[in-house]
């Protein structure tokens, strides 16, 4: 309902601003009280959802592994098969806070993943498994710190480095790394980047053997924030955060849908009018019977 007292200025500009940042369209129109309500309420619900969901409820695409030989979607060299996440249709309405998901999707689509290549040195914490390459394939759980370097400065498919490992029995050992490397995609919606390489070690009888290291190193924030992820990562999130991940996701959807009301209000004005109109009684209300003498 358009009321002459409500100054909409340029409604298209206001709607676009409201879409970009909740409340910005109303601020532009000089409707400061409503701008404050929209920005505080919508952004608080969105940020709250992000916190509940471990910073990961927003993503535009779900990745499926389409390469039979690749153990996971992260370690797939060819372009991943992606499917739109319907939750993002609501989340994107919150505007700029959900736009990084589009940038991350473009980065995945436009970048060739070289999973058997290391560009530069990696220093990180590590968690994973150490197993013998042949024989009984017994595995040990390993945490610690890892240092990986390409065999030459321009990058290489061969990595060298060291692993300062803490084993499950709390014993500490240092291993030398060397040989072919597999490194998960640079951009992927998980804070952990998968890594596989070989380790020179000794078996229980002291003989030199080659061990295989499978695990993950940390991925930089700009490479995982709002990036497409696979169902394995969603399983990990549900396991780690339980119901909070789902609640956080719903909160971000609600924030986006609420901003739709704000965009509409910026373009068309308040739906029921200014608010000081006389209330019209419902037709259903019984009218008092007239007294007849």
């Amino acid at each position: 309902m358009k009321d002459p007292r409500v100054r909409l200025r340029n409604p298209v500009v206001a709607a676009l601003l409201a879409f970009a940042i909740p409340g910005a369209g109303h601020w532009y129109q000089g409707r400061r009280f409503k701008a404050a309500i929209y920005s505080v309420c919508i952004l608080t619900i969105f940020v709250w959802g992000m916190i509940l969901g471990g910073g990961q409820p927003v993503y535009s695409q779900l990745i499926y592994r389409s390469e039979g030989m690749a153990p996971t979607a992260q370690l797939q060299a060819s372009a991943p098969r992606m499917k739109f996440s319907f939750g993002y249709a609501a989340q994107v309405l919150v505007g700029a806070p959900a736009w990084p998901a589009i940038i991350q999707e473009m980065r995945i689509r436009n970048t060739d993943a070289r999973i058997d290549w290391i560009d530069g040195p990696i220093e990180s914490d590590f968690q994973g498994l150490l197993s013998s390459e042949f024989g009984d394939r017994t595995s040990k759980i390993v945490t610690g710190t890892i240092s990986l370097n390409p065999a030459n400065e321009q990058g290489s498919s061969i990595a060298t480095g060291t692993l300062h490992a803490v084993l499950a029995d709390e014993s500490v050992r240092d291993y030398s790394l060397g040989g072919d490397i597999k490194l998960g995609r640079e951009v992927f919606g998980s804070p952990r980047r998968e890594v596989r390489c070989f380790v020179a070690g000794q078996d229980d009888e002291g003989r030199e053997v080659r061990l295989q290291l499978e695990g993950s190193v940390s991925r930089s924030f700009v490479d995982w924030f709002q990036a497409p992820r696979d169902t394995l990562e969603l399983d990990r999130l549900n396991g780690a955060l339980s119901q909070n991940f789902d609640i956080g996701s719903v909160f971000t959807w609600i924030a986006g849908l609420l901003n739709l009301l704000a965009i509409w209000d910026a373009a068309e004005g308040p739906a029921y009018g200014y608010g000081d109109e006389e209330e019209i009684p419902d037709d259903d209300e019984p009218t008092p019977a007239k007294k007849t003498d």
């Binding site: 309500i37 309420c41 609420l258 009301l261 704000a262 209000d265 739906a271 608010g275």
Partner: protein
């Protein structure tokens, strides 16, 4: 009562304020109708919670 149930209170407050802000322009009218909507929604949620609690006994 699980902590997640308590999330409904600030969430309802936020939704009520945004919804009523999109209906009216006058600040007093927005706040008054948002408070009314908040109270009605919380009452409905409490009633639903009590019904489900009774049925799950």
């Amino acid at each position: 009562m699980q902590l997640a149930v308590v999330y409904a209170i600030p969430l309802t407050a936020g939704i009520s304020l945004v919804y009523c802000a999109s209906r009216f322009e006058m600040p007093e009218k927005i706040v008054r109708s948002a408070v009314l909507m908040f109270v009605k929604t919380i009452a409905a949620l409490v009633a639903l919670y009590l019904i489900l609690l009774y049925l799950s006994r």
